[in-house]
């Protein structure tokens, strides 16, 4: 008896769910598009999804922020329709994708990695590439180390150990950041290297913590005094963390802003390959960019799609969403994200037209 009552009880919300779905009108068939990947662009993607939904009631886009690595994971297993990855796919990965279909890749947004910190009493902090590399390699132990003091003679640096917060998951943000550190410090390149998931020496020294996603790192930074971390700029701005002024190639200390990011792109001759050959893109092209006013840790964030989808409704939905992102999406940019330059958008739009 009670069993049937429970079954009936469970059925009620099911029916209620079906009833609340289409608002008025005839049965509007809703298409669900699934994506996952980098936490770097996630806040911007959520903002875009909200706006898009208002205009297209028949398409729902779901994005789960899990890290570039997890996104590529899901894409490879065909568990999602699109994946967002900060670094462009490598050739070996691309070949793997080609075994399963025709992959497309293009950048859809520009972002920057900010170095943030939580040290009470220190409002502004200047660092250069080498010092930063030493901190993250574990060679500099205390906040009032001579190297840091030299760059910040006026700051009241406490004699506390530096707690380093990094990513515990496979992350495009990590790949961008470690590539930068490898460029500016040969020592870091040898000791740690670059990649989505690296072994941080600070872990073994007892001063390292891993957070999941940009979100996890932000949460930990908030709770941990005397810590330093690297996060995507939008997270730093949203949480109002103090951001390190980094010395760029020209020697100036800059903060990551729309201008400094755009300057980095303008100063570099950006090479964006045909979307069908996405692996040819070089992640490092904007790192440590030349230019008086350029911020040194700038990178594209990319999306991976398939040229063909089994479900035609899904193909149409994917096409519509990404076309919208590259065109109308520019009107809804959040703080900390910069839209793509127009020339690059064109080749991406051409590729999207081919999706079926």
């Amino acid at each position: 008896m009670r069993k049937w009552a429970l079954v009936l009880l469970a059925l009620v919300p099911l029916l209620a769910g079906c009833a609340t779905q289409p608002s008025g009108e005839k049965e509007v068939k809703k298409v669900n598009v699934y994506g996952s990947g980098a936490s770097f662009p996630a806040p911007q993607i959520y903002a875009w999804i909200s706006e898009f939904e208002k205009q297209r009631k028949d398409i729902t886009v779901e994005y789960t922020s899990k890290g570039s690595g997890a996104g590529i994971n899901d894409f490879k297993l065909k568990l999602v329709h699109f994946a967002c990855s900060d670094p462009p796919a490598k050739e070996s990965e691309w070949r793997e994708f080609e075994k399963l279909g025709k992959p497309l890749q293009f950048p859809f947004i520009v972002g920057a990695v900010a170095v943030v910190y939580n040290v009470p009493g220190v409002g502004e902090l200047r660092l250069d590439g080498e010092t930063l590399a030493k901190i993250f390699a574990g060679d500099i132990e205390f906040w009032d180390d001579n190297a840091i003091k030299a760059l910040n003679p006026d700051a009241r640096l406490p004699h506390e150990k530096i707690i380093v917060i990094h990513r515990s998951d496979s992350s495009g943000t990590t790949e961008i950041f470690t590539n930068y550190l490898s460029i500016v410090s040969e020592d870091f390149k040898q000791k740690v290297g670059a990649g989505k998931l690296v072994e941080w020496p600070v872990d073994k020294l007892g001063r390292g913590y891993g957070g999941k996603g940009n979100e996890g790192v932000s949460a930990m930074l908030k709770q941990t005094m005397y810590s330093i971390a690297y996060v995507e700029l939008a997270y730093a701005l949203h949480e109002k963390f103090p951001i390190v002024s980094l010395k760029n190639k020209a020697g100036k200390f800059v903060q990551p802003t729309d201008e400094t990011i755009s300057s980095a792109i303008v100063a570099t001759k950006a090479f964006v390959p045909d979307p069908r050959e996405g692996y040819k893109e070089d992640l490092k092209q904007f790192l440590n960019a030349p230019g008086e006013n350029s911020y040194p840790i700038v990178a594209f964030s990319h999306v991976l799609l398939w040229e063909g989808y089994e479900d035609k409704e899904v193909a149409r939905a994917v096409k519509d969403f990404w076309k919208w992102v590259l065109t109308d999406g520019k009107k809804y940019m959040l703080k900390g994200y910069v839209a793509l330059p127009d020339e690059i958008v064109k080749s991406a739009l051409d590729a999207i037209e081919k999706i079926s």
Binding site: N73, E93, S168, S170, D203, K204, G206, Y209, G210, K212
Partner: protein, 299 residues
């Protein structure tokens, strides 16, 4: 053989089959890692996730260490508590009030683990994080306190949380065993003029197998808990004796790393290998517990 039995046979076969299949899936998927890395899989604390397949190496030592450390510590914390609660419920409380103590214990046993995790993250971890530095300052010469960590993400936090979660299981088993000690023994013991303390000691010694069984089952539960632990243990590849050090456990390793495992050629296999270790620990501990309970019941 009657028809009814024949009808039900496939169902039981399915149940048996599921477990066998699970073991098979884990074993088959671990084979690659074991072949490639050999015994060092379990003895090294190195986690290299490279996009160059030849460089990949996954050592599970940190995770195994963390699992054992937190579960054993949890058991040490949980056992005296369970025994106390069991004795309290049976001996110290009048008949009518007993139910009021049994039901909360059952609720705790069934409570969604994510709620424990939520509480652990926002209440317990900050609490531990506040006290840890004090211990470090005064007592850092003791290895158990020799780690400076004020985030609260540590072995200790995970162990305390686990202890809270497994106490109900041990309590239930011990309480039931304690309840069924024949009245004659109870009367005999008190008629000899023993104090409560002495009497309880004697009575508890009758149910030693149950206490052991309860401990084993509690341990098995602690070993397998994922969600609550992964939110408070720190998720770092670390091996350190201190309570306040952060670390990894096998279950939280799986929860964190499986999401991006397939990007790397050999990571899925390594993780399945970790899962296999967990599987075997859980299996062994639970079998031992069940056998003990069974033997005691027949005595």
């Amino acid at each position: 053989m009657d028809r009814f039995k024949l009808l039900l046979l496939p169902v039981c076969g399915t149940v048996l089959g599921i477990l066998m299949l699970m073991l098979l899936v884990f074993a088959v998927n671990s084979a690659e890692t074991l072949a490639r890395q050999g015994i060092e899989t379990f003895t090294s604390n190195v986690w290299i996730a490279s996009e160059i397949p030849e460089e990949e190496f996954y050592g599970l030592l940190a995770a195994i260490y963390g699992t054992l450390y937190t579960s054993i510590l949890a058991l040490i914390l949980a056992l005296p508590t369970s025994i106390a609660l069991a004795v309290f419920t049976i001996d110290f409380v009048p008949q009518k009030a007993k139910e009021a103590l049994v039901i909360p214990v059952d609720i705790m046993a069934g409570l969604p683990t994510v709620l424990y995790g939520l509480w652990g993250l926002f209440v317990l971890a900050p609490l531990v994080g506040n006290f840890a530095p004090i211990f470090y300052e005064k007592l850092s010469f003791v290895p158990l306190f020799s780690y400076y960590n004020f985030t609260g993400f540590s072995y200790l936090t995970a162990s305390i949380l686990l202890a809270i979660m497994v106490t109900p299981f041990a309590t239930a088993i011990i309480r039931e065993a304690y309840r069924t000690i024949p009245a004659t023994y109870r009367e005999a013991v008190y008629s000899l003029g023993l104090t409560r303390y002495e009497a309880t000691k004697v009575l508890l010694s009758f149910i030693k197998p149950s206490i052991l069984a309860g401990s084993l089952l509690a341990f098995g539960r602690a070993v397998g808990e994922t969600v609550a632990v992964s939110l408070v243990v720190g998720n770092t590849f670390n091996i350190h004796p201190s309570f306040f050090a952060p670390g990894y456990t096998i279950s939280s390793l799986l929860a964190n790393q499986f999401g991006n495992a397939f990007v790397y050629r050999y990571m899925p296999s390594a993780l399945f290998c970790a899962g296999l270790v967990l599987f075997l620990i859980g299996l062994l501990v639970n079998i031992a517990g069940v056998l003990l309970l069974r033997r005691w019941r027949h005595v």
